[in-house]
Amino acid sequence: MTGTDTELEPFDSTDEGILRDLREVASRLDPCPADLTERILFALTVQALQAEVAELTSQTELVSRSMAPDPTEASTVTFSAEHLSIMVTVVREDARHTRIDGWLTCGSAEVEVDLSDGRVETVLADAEGRFVVTGLPQGSSARLTVRPEEGRPVITPQFSL
């Protein structure tokens, strides 16, 4: 098992070409999942905020698209964390926009809406825990980060608008 002379030759453009092809074949046959970086970024955010991830507890279509062409169609999503629950109603505003009407059991808190296009909207929930965010792009997705006056921040999984 001694080496060959050719292994001592300088790395040339053919070698470079072989590795370039190998990269392409490996990327096609065994690609890194497309959403992996996004999930890693979520995990890093949760870790950085020392946040709690809320669980999706229910999702209801109040008016389904097939049953009525009613522009007021809405859906409700609820999430729960150890010390608070979040209820979000997604209401269609017009052809391109949706509004979310939210309610937090913890009362007043800062609510950050992270949209999938990178936009961030921040609102304050009132003393009853109610908040409204309007003019959100319909069909995209969002997640909420809730910062209660006491305790850890809570992050929800993504839901669609």
Binding site: D15, E16, L29, D30, C32, R39, L44
Partner: protein, 203 residues
């Protein structure tokens, strides 16, 4: 510090800073308080780290966990990295260790045959094969016939730039100079196998 936002011109790959250099710049920016730089580092290196996990016996699911776990660990241990451009090697070593740890556990239950013990067997479905040219199929089969260490080295090195070869082969536990500035044993074996194969057309 040189700006890292300048894209390399097509066909002038060597004019672009190497992957390790770009990674170091993102890490420095993150340590200086630009938090988005961490996300950019994740985007830049996750495809490479995926290959590291997959060439160390991880199933797809285990590879996702190993790569994610490594990024979380980086944030906790970022102060241990004295030289920012060494972050590339640090991550490769961390994924490798995480992969060993998880596959040791997984082997007791099920062993993933689609892993890279035989990379020629990854997704051999008709769909996967039709997207490849004959040249690419020949290459993949030849890589699959190499000893495991060579397979791992070449598949991982294919995802970095030439100036990074030393850092990456060292991180994989291979001696310095296993590849570059000379061709090295692994690439030489592969190249000789390809040249001997009538289906290999030199592009």
């Amino acid at each position: 510090m040189t700006p890292d936002s300048l894209p390399g011109l097509p066909g002038h790959g060597t004019s672009q800073p190497s992957l390790a250099a770009r990674s170091g710049e993102h890490l420095t920016a993150y340590l200086e308080g630009r938090r988005e730089a961490l996300g950019e580092l994740v985007e830049l290196l996750t495809p490479l780290l995926w290959q590291v996990a997959r060439t160390h016996g991880c199933s797809q699911h285990a590879a996702e966990d190993a790569v994610q776990e490594t990024w979380l660990r980086l944030v906790d241990h970022v102060q241990d990295i004295r030289e920012p451009r060494a972050v590339l090697g640090w991550l490769v070593v961390a994924v490798k260790r995480e992969a060993w740890r998880t596959t040791r556990v997984a082997r007791r239950d099920t062993y993933d045959e689609t892993g890279t013990v035989d990379p020629g067997d990854v997704q051999e479905g008709p769909e996967a094969l039709t997207i490849l040219t004959e040249r690419q199929r020949t290459l993949w089969a030849a890589v699959g016939a190499l000893p495991e260490r060579c397979r791992t080295l070449l598949r991982v090195v294919a995802f970095v730039d030439r100036p990074d070869y030393d850092q990456v082969s060292t991180a994989l536990g291979m001696p310095r100079g296993s590849i570059g500035p000379t061709r090295g044993r692994c690439l030489d074996k592969l190249r000789r196998a390809l040249v001997a194969d009538p289906k290999w057309v030199d592009a």
